[in-house]
């Protein structure tokens, strides 16, 4: 028969949730954790290696819109759909070409990936009316799509254009499904999660996590992307960050992004 105690606990918990307005266990702590044992995930992009890789690929394929392995891996792992119409096509990770805004000097172009910056002060979580977007103690900014109402305020607020809205049912744009990650539904916003499934699973096993893009980059033997815990001074990412000039995107808006871009032109 039913375990009466548990029934009451569960029922009581949900009752309390209904009346208090918030789930007792769902409250996300404000800000990332101060606890030194809780990691703070970040990503470092070596812009030079990235540029090298993309240029190489463009040359090889002749396609200026080529998707490098990191983007392909991201799309595949996270079930990011592909639609013909660029206007409606969601993209978590994308490669952009930059050049100094001075045509006269013929500046050199460089390429770098754009993805969710998992900011320390995420504008999206700030504006989300349902707390569907929230920041985990380890710094990962997540969307609880169960709660998302699809108002797209976060897309307006995000300074990095990292978010995509599902104008269509994503399953229509998928040819392959990774069962580990849910495909989202029509009418919600989605974005890069630092492959949170991989991160959580690795943490459970006590290993160092490696998101799909980072893994793909490593397997493609470019090592342009590094993922790790910046709180740990001995982590690879911390070490690498000490070796060059590291910038953040749009530091002026004060969101304090945790995807760092490293510039060092190491000429042979």
């Amino acid at each position: 028969m039913i375990s009466r105690r548990r029934l009451l606990i569960l029922a009581g918990a949900s009752a309390a949730a209904a009346f208090a307005g918030v789930s007792p266990i769902a409250g996300s702590p404000e800000g990332t954790s101060k606890d030194p044992n809780v990691p703070r995930w970040a990503m470092l992009v070596d812009v030079d290696k990235c540029t090298e890789c993309v240029k190489e690929l463009i040359k090889k394929t002749g396609d200026p819109h080529v998707k490098p392995p990191c983007v392909v891996a991201c799309d595949e792992f996270n079930n990011v759909p592909e639609f013909e119409d660029k206007k409606k096509d969601p993209q978590w990770m994308r490669i952009a070409k930059f050049s100094l805004d001075k045509e006269s000097v013929e500046p050199e172009e460089f390429y770098m990936p754009l993805l969710c910056n998992h900011c320390e002060h995420p504008a999206c979580a700030q504006v989300c009316p349902t707390k569907a977007t929230f920041q985990r103690p380890d710094g990962i900014v997540m969307i609880d799509t169960h709660r998302c109402i699809g108002c797209r305020y976060c897309m307006i607020a995000c300074p990095y254009g990292a978010r995509s809205f599902n104008f269509e049912d994503p399953r229509k744009g998928l040819r392959h499904i990774n069962p580990e990650v849910p495909t989202r539904s029509r009418g919600v916003v989605e974005k890069c999660t630092f492959c949170v499934q991989i991160v959580d699973e690795a943490m459970e096993r006590g290993e160092a996590p490696e998101p799909a893009c980072v893994k793909a980059c490593r397997l493609y033997s470019k090592n342009a992307l590094v993922f790790g815990n910046v709180k740990d001074p001995n982590s690879e990412i911390s070490k690498l960050m000490r070796t060059g000039y590291v910038i953040q995107l749009r530091p002026g808006v004060g969101t304090d992004p945790y995807v760092f871009y490293k510039f060092i032109k190491e000429r042979p």
Partner: protein, 129 residues
């Protein structure tokens, strides 16, 4: 004036409405209870009887644990063993969504929203052919 014909019509309509489930059920010829796919495995996460009524509460708690708190593991309160707090865990025993979840929910007229986003074995199979 007795307006007998209207009264008789009214009684017939009343009877028809009140007894409609009886006729409907008899005419439909559906079995009283649908045959659900048998799960593999010794037991469910919790007591089966309890799961029948409360599975969605459990899933909801799992979802809060997993998504918002990053806790991945759940310890069964009945059996004490540990499970991945994920809907994928269900499909380890319940190999079929269509013949288990959907069938029973169809029977009950309850909508399942999980699989608008979450995947299930049949769907993955269909896509990854």
């Amino acid at each position: 004036m007795y307006s007998t014909k209207y009264v008789i019509a009214a009684i017939i309509i009343f009877l028809a409405i009140v007894t409609s489930p009886v006729w409907y059920d008899m005419a439909s010829g559906e079995p009283i209870h649908p045959k659900l796919a048998k799960p593999t495995g010794a037991h469910c996460v919790e007591n089966t009887e309890w799961m029948k009524a409360h599975h969605m509460l459990l899933l909801k708690d799992w979802r809060t644990m997993h998504v918002r708190e990053g806790k991945v593991l759940y310890t069964s309160q009945t059996y004490g063993d540990v499970y991945n707090a994920s809907i994928e865990e269900c499909f380890k025993c319940h190999r079929s969504e269509t013949n288990f979840c959907e069938k029973c929910h169809d029977y009950m007229g309850a909508k399942i929203e999980c699989f608008e986003c979450h995947t299930y074995p049949e769907l993955v199979e269909e896509y990854n052919k």
